[in-house]
């Protein structure tokens, strides 16, 4: 498959962590070491749901220098298309699965004099691995972590215990306690880099506040976990392979094309990396671009589409595949 080399693994531990959040531990079937990775990296987990293959990206949260296993945490999303439901309801300890090599689209800027981490909810996961790495390498960091309620906040107590309350600060919505973003932005030493991961609204808000506080965009970093949104079913014509593909309500174009046995390159399956960029040859209707990779001009041109998260409404869509 085109997302890179897959590693066959066994699920060796499933741990409930908080309300609707479970942690999964993967060890190699052959007993060998997992590849090392860098904080902020994700893997693609392939789920075989009765012959229907889903692939979701999850941030690695185990220590990057521990190659005995990989760990991820999965939030059971309310209106899940199936990925997180599958992980929560079907995956058991002892199951065999496949994961990709790690890919990092949220790498810390190693030049940073200080790293200011802002997490919301399940967006904490990439920071758990990052902090392990910062800590081991003696880098200066601070985490500000917002959770809705204490029982929904994963790893709050562990992280405070591990790094101390001066470096890890928890904010709980239910207690009317919010991250004082504006104050934080105004008090950071020159050379600080900010990283935010969480719900889309939070990411947008923090990045906007950063620019308003006069931060240069080079110092503002984010990772969005875009997932393919459900939508009306539609059909596409693949001009080179001569196939017609039906994309179902809960399916992405990428998944439907893969299910038809056509290999398409991908890395993030979340609209960010650009690997599955595909040329549109005919578009009679409206492309629903949901990615953050294509520029506004490219989206408006209607000539390119990212198969992993975007959809289509209309009469005919032909792709150069």
């Amino acid at each position: 498959m085109s997302g890179g080399i897959e590693i066959p693994v066994r699920v060796t531990q499933v741990t409930p962590v908080a309300h609707r959040i479970k942690r999964f531990r993967f060890e190699r079937l052959d007993g060998g070491p997992m590849p090392y990775f860098s904080g902020g990296a994700h893997i693609i987990v392939s789920m075989n749901d009765n012959g229907h293959v889903r692939r979701n990206a999850y941030s690695l949260m185990s220590p990057p220098y521990d190659c005995s296993a990989y760990e991820i945490s999965v939030l059971h999303v309310e209106d899940s298309r199936g990925g997180s439901s599958f992980m929560h309801e079907k995956v058991r300890e002892g199951d065999e699965m496949r994961v990709s090599h790690p890919v990092n689209l949220f790498q810390p800027d190693w030049r940073g004099r200080k790293h200011l981490l802002i997490a919301g909810g399940i967006g904490i996961t990439p920071f758990i691995a990052m902090m392990e790495q910062f800590s081991r390498e003696g880098a200066h960091f601070e985490l500000h972590y917002a959770v809705r309620t204490r029982d929904r906040g994963a790893y709050c107590e562990d992280l405070v215990a591990r790094y101390g309350p001066h470096r890890v600060k928890i904010y709980c919505d239910a207690e009317d306690n919010r991250i004082p973003v504006a104050r934080l932005l105004d008090s950071q030493p020159l050379g600080t880099h900010l990283y935010v991961c969480g719900p889309a609204g939070m990411i947008d808000g923090v990045l906007k506040a950063g620019l308003e506080a006069g931060w240069p965009e080079q110092n503002l970093h984010s990772e969005r976990f875009l997932s393919s949104q459900p939508g009306k079913p539609f059909s596409i014509e693949l001009t080179r392979s001569g196939k017609t593909i039906h994309v179902g309500h809960h399916e992405s174009m990428l998944e439907a094309i893969e299910a038809a046995g056509i290999d398409v390159p991908f890395l993030c399956r979340g609209g960010a990396c650009g690997q599955c960029e595909t040329m549109v040859t005919v578009c009679d209707g409206k492309l629903l671009h949901n990615d953050v990779y294509l520029s506004d001009e490219e989206k408006a041109s209607g000539r390119k589409v990212m198969l992993c998260v975007s959809r289509f409404e209309g009469n005919a869509l032909h792709l150069d595949l």
Binding site: R111, D186, P189, L190, G191, G214, P216, Q218, N219
Partner: protein, 201 residues
């Protein structure tokens, strides 16, 4: 050997004021003072109250720019006698600065390069620094052979002020050294160097 049209040649986009900055630091050399004075209208009292102007006259001695800059009414104003004194002051300012601070540099390329190096040393990203080229086109050039830097180079080829080799000045530019590259022009046939041409006045 490619001499011109090299992509590492810096582009100076002009001194546009970044209104959202919490603090503005202007490092100005010679005619670079004009780059700021011409934007007086964009500087309201609020911006000036958050501004620090550092100035060295050099080629613009006795043109009265220091008075004009002082009269802008920035919160802090410093006029230094040399580039070195200005850079020392700039280091002090950046050492305690916070994010939200914007650095603006205007003057000759040699000055921009040196002030930029100070900023990089303090963790600023070069792309966030606002620059404008004013005054002479003279270049700061590093001899790739002896590593000596020659300031205010106006001719190519020119003799390296350290090792004496005749150097061709290329558009290849190192931000880390704040200098263009000078390469021995007659290495393949010593003594065959062409006459110097005035290219960077």
């Amino acid at each position: 050997m490619l001499v011109e049209g090299i992509k590492s040649r810096p582009v100076y986009k002009g001194l546009s004021i970044q209104p959202r900055s919490r603090r503005h630091i202007f490092a100005l050399e010679g005619e670079g003072a004009h780059a700021l004075l011409e934007r007086k209208a964009e500087l309201d009292d609020a911006a000036l109250s958050r501004s620090e102007i550092l100035y060295v006259a050099r080629g613009s001695q006795a043109k009265g720019y220091d008075e004009a800059l002082r009269e802008l009414g920035a919160q802090m104003f410093f006029a230094g006698p040399t580039i070195a004194t200005l850079l020392f002051r700039l280091k002090g300012t950046l050492a305690t600065a916070h994010m939200g601070t914007r650095l603006y540099i205007a003057g000759t390329e040699g000055f921009i390069g040196q002030a930029m190096m100070v900023a990089l040393d303090h963790g600023m990203d070069h792309a966030s620094i606002v620059t404008e080229h004013r005054g002479s086109l003279a270049r700061r050039v590093q001899c790739v052979h002896c590593k000596g830097i020659t300031e205010d180079v106006t001719h190519s080829p020119f003799p390296c002020s350290h090792c004496g080799l005749p150097l061709l000045v290329r558009d290849h530019y190192s931000r880390r050294l704040g200098a263009f590259q000078g390469v021995n022009i007659d290495a393949e046939e010593p003594g065959s160097a062409p006459d110097p041409e005035e290219l960077f006045l």
